[in-house]
Symmetry: C2
Subunit: 145 residues, 2 copies
DNA sequence: ACACTAATTATAACAATTATAAAGTGATAA
DNA sequence: TTATCACTTTATAATTGTTATAATTAGTGT
């Protein structure tokens, strides 16, 4: 399952002429196996055992490369760090305001919203983002005691 | 019109026990009259004629205060600065990827999405955010030449 | 083997924001 | 009035996430 994703991702890199370095392989693999939408720093820390000399810039550089070829999506929030999501199928995110947990949420794309926005504003729409915020079951429990 | 907004906002501050200082008055007034969803720095620069000694921290502090009492909404994007929006009625934003222009977009709240998310994930949903990205008419023109 | 390009590393720089401490301001009440 | 006390502002330092730079290393094609 994840192996297929990795293989496909490596193929995509090859096709687009992006060199597959050990660091890139490891970052991709970690991203695919990670269910937690990690930050650049989390990736950096997770791989420092395997690559003691890897620079944090390498992580950022390669995440940018992956984003540019469409393998990875960058989730940006206000102050906090960006989180990175390996692209599989289109989905939205539900985010816990208590603990920061991010849960994937499948929902049909909001094409109608884009169409109306285009009509009303005259913009040529390229995409939209949506996130849903709330409290996860665990945090809701804690609130009640 | 805007005068009413300002008056109501000042009333809200009084009710919640937030002191109305000259700086706060000016920041609020500027936000209400501004149609451009300014950044903290833009507010700071716009008011430095009137308040040559005002600290940038004052702008940030007071924007936080306004946010906490619900007068102002903070629009956070990835890398760039937050933008601040005086709260009037619920609306979304359409953002030009070319020039950064932000246009207000009225659309009924996506209650159904929140309900489904709640049902599927077990979260207690508090709110959602959505933005629509694209190219404004002016930038679209420029692209074509 | 050689030259060329891309990738990595280490480090410095940057920009937005927040923390801190000192000084100022204003409301309240003795 | 004046003493007090909490809040606010200011000036500045610190922090954090990210990007830029320059030098080194590694990989690829000829």
């Amino acid at each position: 399952m994840e192996q297929n994703h990795l293989r496909e991702a490596l193929d995509t890199l090859k096709e687009t002429g992006v060199r597959i370095t050990p660091q890139r392989h490891a970052i991709l693999e970690f991203l695919i196996n990670s269910m937690t939408h990690p930050t650049a720093d989390e990736i950096y820390k997770a791989l420092e055992g395997k690559f003691p000399n890897m620079s944090v810039a390498t992580v950022y550089n390669n995440l940018r490369v992956f984003r540019e070829v469409g393998l990875v999506k960058e989730l940006t929030f206000g102050d906090a760090s960006s989180r990175f999501d390996f692209v599989t199928t289109q989905h939205y995110h539900v985010i816990c305001e208590g603990c920061g947990k991010i849960v994937d949420f499948h929902y049909p794309g909001l094409d109608e919203v884009e169409q109306l926005a285009s009509h009303v504003t005259g913009f040529k729409i390229s995409h939209h983002r949506m996130e849903i915020y709330g409290s996860c079951p665990e945090c809701t429990m804690k609130e009640v005691h």
